[in-house]
Amino acid sequence: MCGIIGVIDKTRSRMDGSKIKAALSLMNERGSGDGAGYAAYGIYPDYADCYALHVFFDNMAEPKTKVEEILHYWGTVVHQEEIPTFEQPGLKRVHTPWRYFFKPFDDMIGGKVGSEKDIIKHIVMEVNSSIDGALVFSSGKNMGVFKASGWPEDVANFYRIEDYEGYIWLAHNRYPTNSPGWWGGAHPFNLLDWSVVHNGEITSYGTNQRYVEGYGYKCTLLTDTEVVAYLFDLLGRQHELHTETVVKALAPPFWDEIDRMPPAKEGLYRTIRMTYGSALMNGPFAIVVASNEGIVGFTDRIKLRPLVVGENGDMLYISSEESAIRVIDPEVKNIRTPRAGEPIIGRFNA
């Protein structure tokens, strides 16, 4: 099941996390108390040019030393601190959330590592696949993911989510099915600027996983959603495709529809499907993906999971349920349910 929310303020005005918490908690029917999480963009203006690496440490000894060995090899830690947390009766602390504000060395770029972001991707894959007791769960600039096992209110209060102000928020209320309820398995999933909240189960996971692993991504989080973040990073960042094109690769129209398109359009859609067949996501899902450019929500090709959209001026809301949107903004307008596979895109005003 699971409940999801995505909100963007297109003017980049920042809002605190209190309404998101209230909205997510409204959808507790969709969760099981085994995981919840929030992603917020625009929260670290003082370190806007650093990559904010959020890490779960099992203990502060060996895993932390090992992570820092890798970080010091690739760049400079500008600042680090424990992420402030506040004990909640309903939430059992199993990790210590930590954050590094990190800048890669320019001169480490070269060969297979073509950019700063490749360095960050490499560090995340390296830590998550090889260091026991450390997990990088957020690695973008001026953004951060806050998640744990528990109910949405408890997770929000644990991190005091209302203390953060962002212009994009994603939130997720989890009912784990095909993977264990652990902190790393809670949503949002993140790599670099990409964050994903997902309701559903990706039946094409094996195909998608084999595809991204061919490009150096390592699926280590025991859950299917992780692969969506990597698909967006591969197609959106590395292949430089527009968001609309990425969505058309991940949830393409049926061949029958493509066959009926005018020739130029038919050629485009056929080429997308033929090129990115292994990236096609099957099975029931509703997804919202955020980046520093905006948010995009879409469902599977036959819409086996709910997705509702609402607008109010410069605000765009995407959620599993209309009621959750109304909690954030009782004045919301243009409530509608998008068609299967239709991308709902919210970008910042120019």
């Binding site: 189960e201 094409s204 094996g206 061919g214 049926f254 029958d256 080429t271 090129t275 292994s278 099975g283």
Partner: protein
Amino acid sequence: MSLGSIPPKYKVSIDRDQCMDCGRCIENCSYGTFRRDGDKILIQSRKCTACLRCVSMCPRDAISLTENPVDYRSHPLWTRDAREDIIKQARSGKIILAGMGNASNLPSIFDRLLLDACQVTNPSIDPLREPMELRTYIGKKPSKLEFKKTEAGDVELATKLSPNLKLETPIMIGHMSYGAISLNAHLSMAKAAKETGTFMGTGEGGLHRELYPYQGNMIVQVASGRFGVNVDYLERGAAIEIKIGQGAKPGIGGHLPGEKVSAEVSRTRMIPLGSDAISPAPHHDIYSIEDLVQLVRSLKEATEWKKPVFVKIAAVHNVAAIAAGIARSSADAVVIDGSRGGTGAAPKVFRDHVGIPIEGAIASVDQKLREQGTRNEVSIIASGGMRNSADLAKSIALGADAIYIGTAALISMGCRVCGNCYRGLCPWGIATQRQDLVDRLDPEQGARQVSNLIHAWTLELSELMGAAGINSIESMRGNRDRLRGYMLDEGILEVLDVKNAGA
């Protein structure tokens, strides 16, 4: 010292109470098992091949057949086959020939792989109510898309696609040559390929003019004997396939006996009437991978880069590295023929002992191509002993784009897998050039049966995919997460990259 005769393989008997003495068994048996003596039908069991033509045609079900009516002293090592092969070779001093696919007793890996289905957490999809997409493109795909800005400022696609074959179902019919099989068998399959929106291979026997109406669904083959090859032939095909090797007999060539080279076969193959058609073991212009690259390019040049070129290899130990080399050429697809692949005739020792099963070959080729970032450069067509839609689904889940069927198509036309194809006396009109036998196979009827088979497997594949919550074949391809191994050892599971049942 005389070796005497080996015991007959089969014993045929007629229930004389049931028999109405119609003589159809005599007419139908091209091996001469039955003959009339006055008012009695006599049986010579030693001539029987268990093709079951007589059994199928007997209006009274009066004929019965038993295998191995005479027992040897049982022995676990000195099996019947082992002893009889030695007796035959002691007598002849020659290589033992055998037909059809691998007959050794090794377990099938496919049978120990299990498919998945949805329950509760994700809904299965009903193919009767929802679209189910099996369309498959065979050929090179770009690894990423490029866009460019036009002068008007619009963004348009810069990536150009290579020619691909469009299949409505991932089942193709593999290469069996005219000569090895009859014109009516070819016609049946060609009509079926056209009707079901798929393709069939010509084999190394040229393209008979009666098949020209179906040339849009034919893949023309260029093998080491180059029989039937000229530029007209290349241009007629929808795609061209270079045959390097074959799963039933990796590393050796082919031999069509002169008896099968009739006037039509001679014209189509462009060889003298009645002469043996011998395909050498290697292509005499391919002694390394770069020679293959040149042949691929030459064929493309000859056809103005309009047709996909496939390369077919037998699944041998190093198949992944060989396929990776082929992916670096201009080839558009690699066909892997597993060790259970069929043949008209192969030395028995090759058929049963050389090469590896297709399951491991698909897994290792797909893995290697992905590691090298060349998986989009070539499609993978898997073949060799595909018996049903489960083998098909499992092949695709392991990483194949499509499969070739061979023996299954023959069985759908009547073949009973007796394995005597090389004798040219096929009573079903399939593996023969004798006109009275060929006439037994009606191309219309044959086409209906072959296309029924393809339809049936396609339907079953749709149901299997729907049950797994997948509505597009792309999401089945390489989806090893939806396979589990049962009673497979750890080593094989590692090669297949498949988890154990329950894991």
